[in-house]
Symmetry: C2
Subunit: 333 residues, 2 copies
């Protein structure tokens, strides 16, 4: 049996790149007419059939969802994305679906991996994480009509009524609002916020919850995501005699630093609340806002699958059904 | 186009289970002659071809490694297996391989998932985790001749010279020996060990490192994997006036409890060393033994792949090449 022709064979005969062949197959509008005709001639000549084997297999296997897994970066909060992958795998399995992991060190490499997996028919849908404004991955997936949902909003002008794509996210502002409300019950307006430098979508969203809940602007402290730095910042504020009885933090890492500083300053009474409800916060008995990754996974699969059971369906990005915002839960200790 | 016959069709016609059909195809020796002939007649009659689509696809796609992912259980050390999955995904990707996750809540369910994935040609190899003596998963994979490597030794009579299967593990005894040796430099034989109740392979292995390194038997404390319980056990020992200047622990969870107890008792000088080098230990500035999951992943892929690049090859479980024991590293803080 001779080997069936591949995308590479077509590309060689037509003297174009693999990407151009893929464009002719998936998005012919973006290819110049002359090039398109040359590629189509090569396809006829070779008898190339895109994804034949993959199509044959798909009748026998269940849908497979691809998700990018970053190299392990460590850190107290790194565990949140892993919890989401656990939950996604479990809930996908209940529906007879699989989760396929792929690695990439740069956005360019990630695009290349996605292209390979989609072209070879190895995956039927993708879950994006770590989205940002103008994300080229989302752009590519939309152009190729590949079903996908992002864990993380598009961070566009109007993500709710005119979202760039389907997304699920955690309502960080609501979580911090609940934490601030809890702290204010006893100490009124002496609730400080310890956050990251302005400019990160996630961090600004969480800080907004604190501002919205406070009657008067309170003390705002800033540190990078680092226990030692958070500890130093809070220690300096306490040494300066700042009037503060509670600190709501943008992460558990910051909260651990704040707790260590408060204890060292003899302020065992100072209430500290973190964000992410990590094992580290639990081990130290810190209250924290829990992201509920299980509900995020449920939302992602709901958007991906519609009502068809174990098959992936592309859903239009229309308002109302195009996003799920998960309300986090305050865990008190 | 009519749908091609499936394993189920063959099983129905021959009036046997799917498992029996699979046995006839993969391990005919285990099936009685009469049954085998009945199944083979059904296969001919229906024109069933096992894995045709999967075989066709395999020429176009790279090898896929299946790994079971437990539901997220939380806990300080839960992160270690996730780090391994990150490392495995990254290193498999460098070799053009994929990692496919599957979920299962019971060993029976896990066997069922493995069987489906192997029969449908969705995976080419498996990485087992959480192995135990007489593990039925290993038994099944050996009988079916599916390439697999375990993260975790078989816990048989002689895992090194006559292993039941290929495995990679971390040398827990060596890690605890290094931690004990470090602690003994300053305090001689007043190094205690805080471990789990006897009977867990992993825990007993770690404790052995402490015993081997000590000149005289020292104080051995026992707690379940729980910060509060570890703290209470150490607090009671210190209150009893036990002579101890350092505590080497079987996990970071135990070490956090020990550290909190020591600090509360005014024993800031007491050295505490954990195991797993988790983000929680790092955040608290605790020394800890690091498992090096990246080296475990490297060992697993090396055993699976041999020298053939991106294809999985079954390697015989012969002495010498049949296991990799990773020496962990002591991280001092």
């Amino acid at each position: 049996m001779t080997k069936p022709p591949t995308v590479e064979d077509v590309a060689r005969l037509a003297d174009v790149s693999r990407q151009t062949v893929s464009n002719v197959l998936n998005a012919p509008d973006v290819v110049k007419a002359a090039t398109r005709e040359r590629v189509q001639r090569a396809i006829s000549e070779l008898g190339y059939r895109p994804h034949t084997a993959a199509r044959a297999l798909r009748t026998r296997r269940s849908s497979t969802i691809g998700i990018h897994l970053d190299p392990y970066a460590g850190g107290v909060s790194g565990v949140v994305l892993d919890r989401f992958v656990h939950a996604l795998t479990e809930r996908a399995g209940e529906r007879g679906m699989r989760v396929l992991l792929y690695a990439a060190r740069t956005p360019e490499e990630e695009l290349e991996r996605m292209r390979e997996l989609v072209e070879r028919g190895e995956i039927d849908a993708i879950v994006l994480t770590g989205t940002f404004h103008g994300d080229p991955r989302a752009h590519w997936l939309l152009a190729r009509d590949v079903p996908f949902v992002a864990f993380g909003r598009p961070w566009g002008e109007d993500d709710v009524d005119a979202p760039a794509h389907l997304w699920v996210d955690v309502d960080g502002a609501a979580g911090v609002r609940a934490a601030t409300r809890h702290a204010r019950r006893s100490v009124e307006d002496r609730v400080a916020f310890l956050g990251w430098p302005s400019g990160s979508g996630t961090g600004d969203d969480r800080e907004r919850g604190w501002r919205e809940e406070m009657h008067a602007p309170g003390l705002r402290l800033v540190a990078e995501e680092d226990v030692a730095q958070a500890r130093a910042v809070v220690a300096a504020a306490l040494a300066d005699g700042e009037a503060v009885d509670a600190i709501v933090c943008a992460s558990d890492t910051l909260a651990i630093g704040a707790r260590l500083a408060a204890t060292a300053a003899g302020r065992e009474d100072l209430e500290v609340i973190g964000f992410d409800n990590t094992p580290a916060a639990e081990a130290l008995g810190l209250s924290s806002v829990e992201q509920l990754p299980e509900q995020v996974a449920e939302g992602v699969l709901g958007l991906l699958m519609g009502e068809t059971g174990s098959s992936v369906v592309a859903r239009p990005a229309t308002a109302g059904s195009a996003h799920v915002l998960v309300e986090p839960r305050l865990v008190l200790r």
